[in-house]
């Protein structure tokens, strides 16, 4: 029984078990009036809320008295959800009898034909072989067939030629690329974070995982489980962890001052909605703010679903002032086999040197003893650095004082990062000293801003770059740190360890008025000839909060033994065991005897850093699940009742009662009891082939969605899919081999009027291809496609000025300049997907921005698209490639036109088409011969390698013909 809905006629006026809500003409007997007026025995409504105004109650009374008139069709209609077709498990229908028994090739055809015969329609004849091979090739590989492939198919007259073609094409590695394309729209895959900064992210390994999974024909249930919960599988492989990148494709907002929790919740909500859309064809997202108006999902059920996905590590850990890092949140390193070998070798080398540096040998002890005796002769001269503090937007004000110390005033945030820059001519810097200087303006007259005048320094980093050249800044490796005073557990060494949690803090029992110092050793001497730019970063991110440095000074030294005074100062003669070990460590890290080892270790570490091992963003569970609540009106700040994980009651129960966590969710989604998942999946596949799904709303199988045009066909495919073990290629093969798919796509005005959208399938598919494939086709026809599969996303040229458009293009700006020729012509699926500035021609051809899950792209037809295929340099370069090939082809101009025509649309031109193109060639040749400079300009601007004796007017004319061929409606259409 549906809940009471006051906006639904049948709910208000229809019979209900608890008595009529409204009895026309009789307000006193109507529950509605009783409860709003507080007249009956039932509690007054709105329950716990304010009483309605008297006028409103009176209006309700009058309306009932006057007969409760409510026209049919006004408001909504409540359906009994249990009766809705999509929530009942699909059952394999029997095969219907058909009159034209010779037409069907497989079960699909019986179901289609039976429907056509009921409508009094006949199927179209089979499409010609050239049309078929192009159609199959585009559907399986997203590329047109080569002329050799066409000729081979045309000459294969043996029975089963078509089926063999289908098998060949399904086995091609481009199959994975072609079918990854729609999946990446669903997965909202992109190479940047979105929002203001829109930094680049590294998650292309997920894209490659999708391509690989399709190519290996991974069963769809496994494909699902690995993406939703691959990390939780027993002994999860690296590949299975990469698969979880699926739900890391959500947006990240790291604009300054954002509330990290707000956007974390937004990402989880998106994961819920995306999961429901893809696997349930369900608009459960409507229940985010209130119970679903039309489908049987309550808000509580929504947040129980939410609770299943709410237990993973966030993108951004702390408050937004600390957001940095180009990649946020959990990620895995994925070395290539070669890198893995090199990485291991270097790690072993570092370990070997570290062991040498840490090993206390009798020889070392003796050397140290000798060294200690010579202390009088050693000294370290410190030179204070003239550091310029950078403005910080979090309200802290840093000011440099005449004694070269820096003082902090203004806001005292929970966590603070100070950045200072300086230039120095000093070379061979061996140590950096940080002095914490007490100041009367600080609490307790201390050197820090904590309530007791102390501080906790959690991080100290140096970046250096030469003043003379434009080299990128390099991080300086600090090998150790020592201080003259430290709280237990807050030794200076903790700063070098950079755990973020603890750091250097001075002893609380000492006098607040003393200057304390920490000395950091550089692993190798630092400083460039001609001067060095230095950037110091001081992090104060302790969970203790508000414990930044108040006043401090930075100095450097080139001494062999930086900060020797830490050991030689009075009072340090008697050492604890810890101090002795520290001194021994200090000695080994400074003595010239081990300088070579230290240098070798530094070099190995640097090489490790520059291995450029690819990373990929992944999902990682929190150690303990989060508490989940209903969010009132979907607002993350207004938490309602706490909820645990669970599944919508209208759907199937989880197997084994398993109802908590992502893995349970993943298994529940692809349970054979799930009435939706197989239908939704085959429907999306069908849509790729025929342009429209059997259900025309592939994202909504609910009561407000479209009903299937052929329910038996949908159910038959769904059951077949599950029973064949979720085998995707088997479904593809079935569709490709059907007579339904093989029909010609030509349409008569009568049929067009009868069935404009081809829902009855009395003809084959004909529709414009998607953005990436339009590019791929042009590059293929032009012979310039680079068919490399996988790898980092690429940067084909962009029109000038495009990147200046965007506030946040700083981190990719350089990458789009002068892309390597080889990567210039990769398939569209590899183009870097930048959310605030997607590749322009894709956007023009209806690619989504990939901010959210998109199930089907629109298919528009606009002048801006015409400008792309006419003038976009990528298409002009393709035309140049094709023009040059036509010119180089042996034979008459007519034969060359046939060759070019076939490269684009697979078939040979009709005579009238051929003549028209020849005519254009002749005319343009005349025009270009009159203006050879123009011809040269066209031919040489298009990336062609040209011989010295090139006939420019002729080449330009072929390029023009090629440009026309690439712009044919038929070229960008699946026919």
């Amino acid at each position: 029984m549906a809940q009471l809905r006051l906006d639904a006629r049948n709910s208000v006026l229809g019979p209900r078990p608890s008595g009529a809500v409204v009895v026309p003409g009789k307000p006193d007997e109507s529950t509605l009036w009783q409860v709003v007026a507080g007249a009956g025995t039932k509690p007054r409504m709105p329950f716990g809320g304010q009483r309605l105004p008297d006028e409103s109650i009176e209006i309700i009374r009058q309306w009932i008295e006057q007969g409760a008139s409510w026209p049919e069709g006004a408001g909504v209609t409540v359906h009994d959800a249990q009766q809705h077709w999509a929530y009942a498990k699909p059952v394999r229908p029997g095969m219907p009898a058909v009159r034209n028994a010779s037409w069907p090739r497989n079960s699909i055809d019986y179901l289609v034909l039976s429907r056509l015969e009921k409508e009094g329609l006949a199927p179209s004849g089979e499409a010609g072989k050239e049309t078929l091979i192009r159609r199959v090739s585009l559907d399986t590989r997203g590329l047109p067939p080569s002329i050799n492939e066409i000729d081979a198919f045309l000459s294969d007259v043996a029975p089963g030629a078509y089926e063999r073609l289908v098998d060949r094409m399904l086995g091609a590695p481009q199959y994975g690329e072609r079918w990854a394309r729609p999946w990446l729209d669903l997965a909202r895959y992109a190479d940047s974070n979105g929002y203001e900064k829109d930094r680049s992210r590294s998650i292309w390994l997920y894209r490659d995982w999708v391509i690989g999974a399709f190519n290996r024909n991974m069963p769809f249930d496994q494909f699902t489980i690995e993406q939703i919960a691959g990390d939780l599988l027993p002994h999860a492989t690296l590949d299975q962890r990469i698969a979880t990148g699926f739900h890391r494709n959500t947006l990240i907002n790291d604009e300054g001052g954002v509330d990290a929790e707000e956007f974390r919740v937004a990402a989880v909500l998106d994961r819920v909605n995306t999961t429901a859309t893809i696997w349930l064809g369900s608009t459960i997202g409507c229940a985010q703010c209130h119970n679903h108006k039309y489908d049987p999902f309550s808000q509580e059920e929504y947040y129980r679903f939410f609770a299943l996905l709410n237990n993973d590590k966030p993108d951004i850990e702390a408050d937004a002032f600390n957001v940095r890092a180009e990649n946020l949140g959990p990620q895995v390193e994925v070395p290539t086999p070669k890198q893995a070998v090199e990485q291991e070798r270097l790690q072993r080398e570092v370990a070997r040197h570290t062991a040498t540096l840490e090993k206390q040998t009798p020889a070392m002890e003796a050397a140290q003893e000798l060294w200690e005796k010579g202390w009088e002769k050693q000294e370290s001269a410190w030179k204070a650095i003239d550091a310029t503090p950078q403005d910080s937007l979090d309200g802290v004000k840093l000011t440099a004082l005449p004694d070269k110390s820096v003082i902090a005033t203004g806001r005292n945030p929970d966590q603070a990062t100070y950045i200072l820059t300086a230039k120095t001519d000093i070379r061979g810097i061996t140590g950096i000293r940080l002095e914490a200087i007490p100041d009367g303006s600080m609490p307790n007259g201390g050197s820090g801003r904590a309530p007791d005048g102390n501080f906790i320094l959690t991080g100290f980093e140096l970046e250096v770059s030469p003043v003379k050249t434009q080299a990128d800044p390099k991080q300086v490796v600090l090998s150790a740190a020592f201080a003259d005073s430290a709280r237990h557990g807050f030794e200076a060494e903790r700063v070098v360890e950079a755990t973020g949690k603890t750091g250097w803090s001075v002893r609380e029992d000492g006098p607040r008025s003393a200057v304390h110092e920490a000395v950091f050793l550089t692993e190798v001497p630092v400083g460039f000839e001609g001067g060095t730019r230095v950037k110091f970063t001081l992090k104060q991110e302790s969970p203790e909060k508000q414990c930044a440095l108040g006043r401090f000074r930075i100095s450097v030294t080139t001494a062999q033994y930086p900060g020797l005074n830490l050991w030689t100062s009075p009072g340090s003669k008697v050492r604890s065991q810890e101090q002795k070990m520290a001194l021994a460590k200090y000695f080994r890290l400074t003595t010239p005897q081990l300088a070579e080892t230290r240098k070798l270790r530094a070099e190995a570490r640097e090489r490790l850093q520059h291995l450029d091992i690819p990373t990929s963003m992944v999902i990682e569970a929190m150690p303990e699940p989060r508490e989940s609540h209903i969010l009132i009106r979907g607002n993350f700040m207004t938490k309602g009742t706490q909820v645990s994980g669970g599944f919508p009651a209208v759907l199937h129960k989880p197997a084994k009662g398993e109802a908590q966590g992502r893995l349970a969710l993943a298994r529940w989604l692809v349970d054979n009891e799930n009435p939706l998942v197989a239908r939704v999946t085959v429907n999306r596949i069908w849509e790729q082939y025929f342009g429209r799904g059997i259900v025309e709303t592939p994202d909504d199988f609910g009561t407000r969605g479209d009903r299937p045009a052929n329910p038996e066909l949908l159910d038959w495919l769904a059951v077949e899919f599950m029973e064949k073990g979720w085998d995707l290629k088997a479904i593809h093969r079935l569709i490709l081999n059907s007579a339904t798919y093989r029909q010609a796509s030509n349409v008569t005005p009568q049929l067009l009027e009868r069935d404009p959208y081809n829902r009855l399938l009395a003809r084959g598919p004909r529709f414009r291809l998607e953005a990436e494939f339009i590019r791929d086709i042009a590059l293929t026809a032009g012979g310039i496609l680079n068919s490399k599969i996988g790898g980092p996303s690429v940067y084909p040229p962009l029109p000038e000025g495009i990147l200046k458009n965007s506030f946040s293009s700083y981190d990719v700006k350089n990458l789009w300049v002068n892309p390597e020729a080889a990567d210039r012509y990769r398939r569209g699926i590899y183009t870097f997907w930048r959310r605030t500035e997607p590749y322009p021609s894709f956007l023009t051809f209806d690619a989504p921005r990939r901010d959210v899950c998109v199930v089907n792209r629109s298919r528009t037809n606009t002048p801006l698209q015409a400008l792309v295929t006419l003038n976009d340099p990528a298409f002009v370069e393709a035309a140049a490639g094709l023009g040059q090939r036509m010119m180089q082809e042996q034979g008459t101009s007519g034969e060359r036109i046939v060759y070019g025509f076939r490269r684009c649309v697979s078939r040979k031109p009709k005579q009238i088409e051929s003549l028209e193109l020849e005519n254009l060639f002749r005319k343009s040749l005349g025009m270009f011969q009159k203006d050879p400079e123009a011809a040269k300009s066209l031919a040489s601007s298009s990336g062609l390698k040209l011989a010295a004796n090139t006939d420019y007017p002729e080449l330009a004319s072929w390029i023009l013909v090629a440009n026309v061929l690439l712009n044919l409606d038929e070229t960008i259409t699946k026919n």
Binding site: E196, L251, N253, G256, G257, A266, N273, T277, S282, T283, D391, L393, G395, K397, G410, T697, G702, G705, V747, P749, L752, P756, R766, P799, E800, G801, N805, S806, F807, S808, T836, S841, L843, P848, V852, S858, R859, T860, N861, T862, P863, L864, A866, L867, V868, L870, E913, E916, N919, S924, M927, A934, A935, K936, S937, L938, L960, L968, D969, N975
Partner: protein, 474 residues
């Protein structure tokens, strides 16, 4: 053969079968059947008679300070330097301010325009000329307090990426009046947009409704120019061949999409002439340049204002100007209120006023709606330390100022107010969704009825909110 060929080629053929390139939409000729994209931009009827037929939205991206431009607050000056009373900012979320910040009076003078009874900052002198034509909304508010979510909110009605923007909704609702130009055009100046093209994206609406950026450098519209060496004559020849071949396909396949495509190529060809002509402001009279402060060949807000007028004259429905760089948090760079705000104000003051005057003198103001404002305002409180040469204000969404003018609005009117310190709204709050509802209303659209189904839900610009601000309607 020759004769046969001639008889069925080119425009003769197309004219003969009613597929000419005239202004009649092809969909009408074809009865609309079967096409996926049957002229999505064909003019559509509004829900009721509109008072505005087109919109020019001057989007001041990154949030100008209402307290230094439009809101005269003597009390703020008087209390400058004192801590803000805590109850005034209780429960508000700020991007950067924490604790109890100090009040900051405006460093600039406000003067009363005696004729209009309106105070204006000395930074906006030219606005004096148009005070009688515009309506101030002094009580705008938004929940968002970060730039991109707030800019998306104002443009799309949602703070998240993925929804269509206002211009797209309007194009979807009303179609386009021009066949030679896009119906929704974007012009940018100042600091670059923080959303990239997302602020003029069509979200889940078909991409035909997305804003087309007319750029002041390079091709004004992407890929408008023919490749090097290809003259307009050569292009025409090749298009004639292309059309003939596509026409041949149409005869075979019977797919109306092909007819639409032929039309698309013809419009693209027309745009190759009409867009450069439009963008060339050098032939405007000297008086016009003087009024706007335009300099042909430059990228400037002034040039874009003049282009906006030229666009609406030519039937463009929705023109959106972006002028970024109002993010005056403080510091010593271009976020310094003291040094940079006067510069930004100078960039827009004269041209904004000129646009109103120009539209008025051409009789266009009566049915053109001009909107001026940003995604939120700025705080009454100082961000950072006080210094005569370096000042800043944080983001403030609960009470800021925009203005509108033209088609269907009261003139010389002011709605709403904030308290003496400009921290909270005291009368007639106007939420972003209310503004959106009002803009659609002026265009003859009932905002609750302009919907599009996506992921099973009917979406609208105003989400489930929004009320038309009746008090400002003429």
């Amino acid at each position: 053969m020759k004769e046969n060929l001639d008889s069925i080629t080119r425009r003769h053929l197309l004219r003969g079968t009613g597929l000419g390139f005239g202004s009649i939409a092809l969909s009408q000729l074809l009865g609309g059947a079967g096409a996926d994209s049957t002229d999505l931009l064909a003019g559509k009827k509004p829900h009721f008679t509109p008072t505005a037929k087109r919109v020019i939205f001057l989007f001041m991206a990154d949030a100008p300070s209402q307290l230094d431009l439009f809101e005269h607050k003597p009390k703020l000056t008087e209390m400058s330097g004192q801590p803000i009373p805590e109850e005034l900012i209780k429960g508000q979320r700020f991007a950067f301010l924490r604790g109890v910040p100090k009040i900051l009076g405006s460093p600039w003078k406000f003067e009363l325009n005696k004729k209009s009874g309106v105070y204006l900052s000395e930074l906006m002198p030219h606005h004096n000329d148009v005070l009688d034509d515009i309506t101030f909304l002094r009580s705008m508010w938004t929940e968002e307090f970060n730039h991109v979510p707030a800019q998306l909110f104002l443009n799309t009605g949602s703070p998240r990426l993925g929804r269509p923007c206002m211009g797209s909704w309007v194009s979807y609702g009303l179609g386009s009046e021009t066949k030679d130009l896009p119906g929704y055009v974007v012009l940018a100046s100042g600091k670059a947009s923080r959303c990239g093209t997302a602020c003029w994206g069509s979200g889940f609406l078909p991409s035909v409704y997305q804003g087309v950026e007319f750029r002041s450098a390079g091709d004004p519209v992407l890929y408008l120019s023919n490749p090097p060496g290809m003259s307009s004559e050569v292009r025409r020849e090749s298009l004639d061949t292309l059309n003939t071949l596509n026409r041949q396909s149409y005869l075979e396949a019977g797919d109306p999409e092909i007819a639409t495509r032929i039309n698309s190529f013809e419009m693209a060809y027309r745009m190759q002439t009409s867009v450069p002509e439009l963008m060339d402001i050098s032939k405007e009279p000297a008086a016009t340049h003087a009024m706007y402060g335009t300099e042909p060949g430059k990228t400037s807000f002034a040039n874009n204002c003049l282009l906006a007028r030229r666009l609406v004259e030519r039937g463009c429905r929705f023109v959106q100007l972006y002028h970024g760089g109002w993010d005056h948090h403080g510091g010593n760079g271009d976020q310094n209120l003291v040094s940079n705000l006067p510069e930004r104000a100078r960039q827009v003051d004269q041209a904004s006023a000129a646009l109103i005057k120009d539209l008025k003198q051409r009789g266009l103001l009566d049915d053109t709606l001009v909107i001026w404002g940003g995604e939120f305002g700025r705080t009454s409180m100082l961000q950072g330390e006080y210094s005569k040469t370096q000042l800043g204000r944080d983001h403030h969404g609960k009470g800021y100022t925009m203005w509108m003018a033209g088609g269907g609005l009261k003139r010389g009117f002011s709605l709403g107010a904030t308290d003496e310190l400009g921290t909270q709204i005291t009368e007639d709050p106007v939420h972003i969704h209310d503004l959106q509802a009002t803009i659609l209303h002026l265009l003859g659209i009932e905002h609750t009825k302009l919907t599009y189904r996506f992921q099973g839900r009917d979406f609208r610009l105003t989400d489930v909110h929004g009320e038309v601000v009746k008090k400002i309607l003429a």
